[in-house]
């Protein structure tokens, strides 16, 4: 498992293909959403900042996570990977950890921009914010990683991934946006605790389900 993770991270480090493309995309999304809300109502409220951030994370993240499987698709690497003596579940975990790390890096680059353009005060609440984002990323990456393995093998793969995962991610969107907005408003972790507890449950359910069922979707 560590070997797969290491291989993916090394490819990413050498090419920086995934990271550059999805960071740029996320930046553009944040900008577009801030222009849109500026045009609509002038000053942007904290709750809208949280919403805009998560929409950007989701869309940019989905493309990035999709790439982690497109990479395996070229030259049928995934077949080799599955033929090697590793469990499908371990491939899932390796991809999941890799994707969570990349989402984290993306967010670290986006947040200062969001602070600049959307006027979000992130300085005081940074540790709490990091926890909220981390929990959100884990659930998001679990669902998206799982279905990216499915989507890359369908005919209409670009459309298929958002189509499959967005409905499943709606509860996560509610929870993550609520928790992020509370933390940005200075409510601290205590204020966001119900949403955070449900986020943990969401992560637990979908990480376990993905780990158990991954074998069924990758097996030929």
């Amino acid at each position: 498992m560590l070997a797969i993770l290491w291989k993916d991270l090394r490819i990413e480090w050498r090419t920086k293909e995934m990271l550059t493309s999805f960071v740029v995309l996320a930046v553009l999304l944040v900008l577009t959403l801030s222009f849109a809300s500026q045009a609509a109502m002038g000053r942007v409220s904290t709750s809208r900042v949280a919403g805009a951030l998560w929409v950007s994370f989701l869309f940019a993240g989905m493309l990035g996570i999709q790439r982690s499987f497109l990479l395996e698709r070229e030259n049928e690497c995934i077949t080799g990977l599955l033929a090697s003596p590793v469990e499908a579940a371990e491939v899932f975990l390796a991809k999941l950890v890799g994707n969570v790390m990349l989402l984290g890096i993306m967010q670290a680059l986006i947040l200062p921009l969001a602070a600049l353009f959307l006027g979000a005060r992130i300085g005081d609440s940074l540790p709490a914010l990091a926890l909220v984002l981390g929990l959100g990323n884990l659930g998001f990456a679990a669902v998206a990683t799982f279905f990216a393995a499915v989507a890359v093998r369908t005919r209409s793969r670009e459309v298929m991934l958002p189509l499959l995962v967005l409905p499943l991610l709606l509860p996560l969107v509610i929870l993550a946006v609520r928790a992020t907005a509370t933390v940005l408003d200075g409510g601290g972790l205590a204020g966001a605790s119900p949403a955070l507890a449900y986020l943990v449950a969401f992560d637990a359910i979908y990480c376990t389900a993905g780990w158990l069922l991954f074998e069924f979707v990758v097996r030929e």
Binding site: T154, L163, L166, L170, A195, Y198, F202, L213
Partner: protein
């Protein structure tokens, strides 16, 4: 006569008779609600559709799990049929709800927990049907769909708790917040019970017919493939 033949012959009749009985109960037995007036009668269709939709999604998850476990195509066919019928009834819920809400709440849609959770479930199973429609008939697509069907249902507890963080105004009729039933009139209870049963019968029949159509068409595909190969 085999059980399936009995179903084929008598289930349509049972559904038809139950529908007449349900209409009779709704419009003639149940009294008109004092404050809401005649529009309240849509409640019987609304709640029955919701039960049926949930029965449908539960069936999808259960037969998907059985399919993954046993690998028998029959379970996959049941899952697909139940998803189609479930989405259909869920659509009824989402249509009848606003028809009632417009005169009573003064708005078609509210981001109320129950509305939101129904909408989320509807979206999940619409995406399930899209996967089936675009995916093709290979074995691996069946497994993907089965997994998605399971993912949708195991998320329900989280959907329910997460939408509770939104402010609510949906009436709690069957079990009120004090824990008692809000539906006191016996005529109303009867109408709801009869309509609910009718819808479940209808659901059973639709899934049954749909599954058979699918089995026949897959058999036909198989024969065509054999002919082409031979």
């Amino acid at each position: 006569m085999r059980a399936r033949d009995i179903l084929d012959r008598w289930l349509p009749w049972a559904v038809g008779l139950a529908m007449i009985a349900a209409l009779y109960c709704i419009f003639l037995v149940a009294p008109t609600e004092r404050e809401q007036g005649v529009v309240q009668r849509i409640f019987y269709f609304h709640v029955s559709s919701a039960w049926t939709a949930f029965a449908g999604f539960a069936t999808v998850a259960l037969s998907s799990a059985l399919f993954l476990w046993s690998g028998r195509q029959r379970w996959d066919q049941v899952a697909r049929s139940a998803a189609e019928v479930g989405v259909l009834f869920c659509t009824f819920v989402l249509i009848t709800g606003p028809i009632w809400a417009k005169p009573i709440w003064g708005t078609w849609w509210q981001w109320d927990p129950r509305l939101t959770q129904t909408l989320i479930l509807w979206a999940i199973y619409v995406s399930y049907l899209t996967l089936r429609a675009f995916g093709g008939g290979e074995d691996v697509v069946r497994r993907w769909a089965a997994v998605l069907g399971i993912f949708g249902v195991i998320g329900i507890p989280i959907i329910i708790v997460s939408v509770r963080l939104l402010p609510g105004m949906h009436p709690a009729v069957l079990v009120t917040r004090k824990g008692t039933s809000g539906l006191v009139d016996p005529g109303m209870r009867l109408a709801l019970a009869v309509t609910g049963l009718t819808f479940l019968l209808l659901f059973g029949w639709l899934v049954h017919v749909r599954t058979r159509i699918q089995r026949v068409s897959e058999g036909l595909e198989g024969m065509r493939a054999d002919l082409d190969a031979g």
